[in-house]
Amino acid sequence: MSTNVGIVIVSHSPKVAEGAADMVRQMVGAEVPVAWTGGNPDGGLGTSVPAIIAAIDQAWSEAGVAVLVDLGGAETNSEMAVEMLDAARQPKVVICNAPIVEGAVIAAAEAASGAALDLVKKTAEELSPQ
């Protein structure tokens, strides 16, 4: 299990989510666990709470997991997914207020340095207008 913070990408579109994860792997490397999820169970655009929980499990690190989301439901479903985790794991998952693609890459670059979850989130959020 990685000691670096993991990254989860939650988009309405599986193509966006997978593409953002590809960018993380190619630009940052494999030392950061990355998982993605996108689309609803019927194959349309959307997000699914169980799929988000599975992605968090996949990218899990004891250092925590930073979640990058796109619009509306991706955020609320991610919040719901976090609430459904064991109480002990909940504080180790944060949703970043950052653009999904750039935020994922930059959060992962920070995570690759071994940075703590708070710093990973803060670095991703430097991208958002202040």
């Binding site: 190619q26 890459v105 670059a109 920070e110 940075a115 670095t123 430097e126």
Partner: protein, 106 residues
């Protein structure tokens, strides 16, 4: 970010990378900088403004073009090694050839 940082090492080199300091080179530079405990700053001018070389967002915002001279200063643990390592990365053209192979195979 322009207050003195207790500079113990400085260096500069010319950015030869064709695309300038775009996303991938910036990631490599900042990730390398983050492996050092020293405070490291980068500037396009020796007079500054000096930018935290560990910040992807700030270094990317420099938009340094090909041919720009990049200046570095560092203070703290292994400051000299840090500056030397970063300059070596730039002078190796960010190992982009190896990266291209990896991308093609991966």
């Amino acid at each position: 970010m322009n207050e003195p940082i207790g500079t113990e090492a400085t260096g500069s080199t010319i950015l030869t990378h064709a695309a300038g300091l775009h996303a991938r080179p910036v990631l490599k530079l900042t990730m390398l900088a983050k492996t050092f405990a020293a405070k490291i700053e980068i500037a396009a001018n020796p007079e500054g403004p000096w930018i935290d070389a560990k910040s992807v967002v700030k270094v990317m915002a420099m938009k340094a073009p090909k041919g720009a001279t990049l200046h570095f200063r560092a203070g703290g643990e292994k400051a000299e090694e840090a500056v030397a390592a970063i300059i070596a990365l730039i002078d190796r053209d960010f190992d982009e050839d190896a990266e291209g192979e990896k991308a093609a195979n991966g």
